[in-house]
Every structure is written in structure tokens, then in C-alpha cells.
């Protein structure tokens, strides 16, 4: 009985962990989108005339969006697969 309860609690904890990991990237990207909406003048691509190369290349809200996307695809996705595999082996 206790063992069942303990294993169920552990599985639930891992599920919460998986949810937290899968939310990190989208949350960061969403923060970048909200920032771009609140401060559109930060996105110089919207008013590119007269801007130099670096002001067009470095767009802080878009960089935040990009960081979230890269994290979700490169880090979070394989990490979730590993977490699932770990869950299966320790079941």
C-alpha cells in the first residue's frame, strides 16, 4: 500500500517536472512577444529607415522569442524524452 502510494507520488512529481520543462520555452517566447507589443519601438524592423546594421540585427524582444524557441526545440524536447525514458526504467 505504502509502496504504491510512494510510486504514484513519484510519478506525479515527474509529471509536474515534465510540465514545467515543456512550459519554459513557450513562456520565454511569450514574454518576448508581450515585450514587442508593449514597446514596438524596440523592434527596429518595424521602422527600418535610417537604422544601421547592428540596430537591425539585434532586436531584443525578438532575441528573447528566439531564445525561447531554441530552448524548446534543442533543450526541452530531448530532455522530455529522457525524462520519460527515466520514468519508464524506474517504474
Amino acid at each position: 500500500m505504502n509502496t504504491t502510494y510512494a510510486s504514484r507520488a513519484a510519478a506525479e512529481r515527474r509529471n509536474h517536472r515534465a510540465q514545467a520543462i515543456s512550459l519554459l520555452g513557450p513562456l520565454v517566447s511569450a514574454a518576448g512577444v508581450v515585450w514587442a507589443i508593449l514597446q514596438p519601438y524596440r523592434v527596429t524592423l518595424l521602422h527600418p529607415r535610417g537604422q544601421g546594421f547592428w540596430w537591425l540585427a539585434v532586436e531584443p524582444p525578438l532575441l528573447v522569442v528566439l531564445a525561447g524557441v531554441v530552448f524548446a526545440l534543442v533543450v526541452a524536447r530531448p530532455l522530455l524524452a529522457d525524462l520519460e525514458r527515466h520514468r519508464a526504467t524506474t517504474r
Binding site: 520565454v28 539585434v58 530532455l79 527515466h86
Partner: protein, 188 residues
């Protein structure tokens, strides 16, 4: 502008640290490339601070500050790489992180010669400096209790806070309505 690029790099390190704290070191290190990810990124950020020091600083004190950040970031990132690879064994190498935080915080505060409310950049220099100095307690505690998930998450949180602080930087801008006339007209 360079601040923003570094802010994103620092933020990515913070995200990786947070993910590691959430899933645990055992799962995080299941893939070989992943265990080198954030220490390697920290080391690369340290390397990239050298060209910033050489090309983007306009005074000796700025050069010293950026040079010291480059050194301690390379030291801490390199030590972490050695630890995860197994080449370094002593956990005392983790003390390079609190050292890096203290040196970075001190350099931030010392090289900002204007008071807090002179302009936004002055405010941020003081704020980031104190964040690093007070935040140094977290990696110090983590060096003593390396398996603590709460301390790992706190370490990630400090890094993420610094990233957000760096993202709020602008060339000349007011802070809470204060802008010294000596700072010049606000732009960017």
C-alpha cells in the same frame, strides 16, 4: 546593444540551469552534449567578453571591468567543464562561481562612477552589482551542498534576474523619472 546579446546568452544559461534543477542532474546528464551545454556556454561568453573589452570600451576602468568578467567567467565555466567531464574531482572548484559573482559584482559597482539615479545605465550597474554580490551566497551554498535542488533553482533564478536586468539597459534613458542633465538627451 552588446548588453542585449549577452543578456540573451546569460538568460539561456539560466534556463538550462533551471531545467537541470527541475529534472535533476541524473536525467540532465543522460545525453553527453547536454552536460557540457551550460558550462560551455558560460565559457564561450567569457571568451566573447574579450572582444567586447577590446572594441567596445572607452576607458581604462571599463577595460579592467570587462577583462575581469572575462577572466572569472572563463575560470568558472572552465572549472565546471572540468568537473562534468571528470577531469577535475575536487568539489572546491565550484567555489569559482561565488568568486566570479563577487568579482563581477564588485567590478560593476566600482566602474560605475555616477550615483544610482544619474541615468538608467547607472542604476542598472549598481543594481546588477549588488545582485551579484548578494547572489554570491547562492553558489557559495551550492558549493557546500551541490545536490540541493532548491539551491540549484535559486542559482538559476539569480542568473535569470541578471539577464532581465541586462535586457532593460538602454544607451541614455531615465530611471523612475530621474535623468541627470549631465547624461545628455535620452535615446534608444
Amino acid at each position: 546593444m552588446v548588453h542585449w546579446l549577452f543578456a540573451v546568452g546569460v538568460g539561456f544559461v539560466g534556463l538550462c540551469l533551471l531545467a537541470e534543477a527541475i529534472v535533476g542532474r541524473e536525467v540532465w546528464q543522460q545525453r553527453r552534449w547536454r552536460k557540457y551545454l551550460w558550462p560551455g556556454l558560460a565559457f564561450v561568453l567569457g571568451i566573447l567578453l574579450w572582444p567586447v573589452m577590446a572594441f567596445y570600451t572607452n576607458s581604462a576602468i571599463h577595460m579592467y571591468a570587462h577583462g575581469s568578467w572575462a577572466e572569472v567567467l572563463m575560470l568558472a565555466g572552465g572549472a565546471e567543464l572540468g568537473l562534468v567531464h571528470g577531469r577535475l574531482r575536487s568539489p572546491l572548484w565550484r567555489l569559482t562561481w561565488p568568486l566570479a559573482f563577487v568579482v563581477t559584482g564588485t567590478a560593476f559597482i566600482v566602474h560605475e562612477q555616477n550615483p544610482w539615479f544619474f541615468a538608467r545605465s547607472a542604476f542598472l550597474h549598481h543594481l546588477i552589482g549588488w545582485t551579484f554580490l548578494i547572489g554570491a551566497l547562492v553558489p557559495l551554498a551550492l558549493a557546500l551542498r551541490p545536490r540541493s535542488a532548491a539551491l540549484q533553482a535559486a542559482f538559476a533564478a539569480v542568473i535569470l534576474v541578471v539577464s532581465v536586468q541586462l535586457l532593460t539597459d538602454r544607451d541614455v534613458a531615465p530611471v523612475f523619472g530621474h535623468l541627470s542633465p549631465l547624461a545628455g538627451p535620452p535615446h534608444r
